[in-house]
Amino acid sequence: MTPLICYMLLAALLFSIGLAGALTRRNAILVLVGIELMLNAANLNFIAFWRYSEHPEALTGVMFVIFSIGVAAAEAAVGLALIIAVYRHYRTTNLDQVDSMKG
């Protein structure tokens, strides 16, 4: 089997790619995509650690990932609804132009 460190490096790489995208892209939806990538990288870490642990029958990693997937889906839904509401007001999803608090 592949050593645990490969999974961790892959997860770290995915996390940094998601972080880079979330910090650099202008479109609000792509920032959300970056956030989803970061969440997925963390899930991969959990499953890898669970599989290589001393007591995999405790199912801790799998439980955490199930809840994490559920919470991420809820967060994506609300985030996208917010983006649509902001678009309706500002007529743009460009984050550089959404820069004033007053309507």
Binding site: M8, I17, A20, I47
Partner: protein, 185 residues
């Protein structure tokens, strides 16, 4: 590093890079689907069947479609006129590189990983869905109820936030209700 892991890792990483750097938003969303698929394959390879299939069902089947709908509803499908990255993009990339560097250093020098006992090889018998269900109902019942509440709140909240604010024109309303009453087949 086995061959299947290497192949899946290459696919996942290239889809992730493409998802964050392509110009066309819909292409980004579709590459993101590739990333989710690659991750689901990795979960299945690690004997976490329920997590892998739930990943496909929820992320590919729901979150990706939500993202695509949001792109279409906010006119993101038209070609971008301005440069795609914010003005200070190199700071973002530098921060991400720094994060990656610190994560790699932590991973490589940690004692928990450099002295592994190897994975337990016969896990597949314990990881049945029945066990997951039993744990959800006994040890993790409180997080389960909280997540259920959270999902309900998110559902209602998303609908309310995305609903248009202004009420329809009152004249239009009267006309449409008149039409409804006189439907005859």
């Amino acid at each position: 590093m086995t061959l299947p892991f290497a192949m899946i890792a290459v696919v996942t990483l290239s889809s992730a890079v493409a998802a964050m750097s392509l110009r066309n938003l819909v292409h980004c969303a579709l590459c993101l689907v590739g990333t989710f698929g690659g991750l689901a394959a990795l979960f299945l390879q690690l004997d976490a069947q329920f997590a892998g299939l739930a990943q496909v069902l929820v992320y590919v089947g729901a979150v990706a479609i939500l993202i695509v709908f949001a792109i279409l509803l906010t006119r993101g499908a038209e070609p971008a006129q301005q440069p795609i990255v914010a003005g200070s993009w190199f700071i973002g990339v530098a921060v991400a590189a720094l994060t990656f560097g610190s994560l790699v250093v932590t991973v490589i020098t940690s004692s928990a990983i450099t002295s592994p006992a190897g994975p337990k090889l016969d896990v597949a018998g314990d990881v049945t869905v029945k066990n997951i269900g039993a744990r959800l109902m006994t040890d993790y019942v409180l997080p389960l109820e909280v997540v259920a509440l959270l999902l309900t709140a998110a559902l209602i909240g998303a609908v309310i936030i995305a609903m248009p604010n202004e009420a329809p024109d009152s004249k239009l309303k009267a006309e449409s209700s008149k039409l409804k009453k006189s439907t005859n087949f």
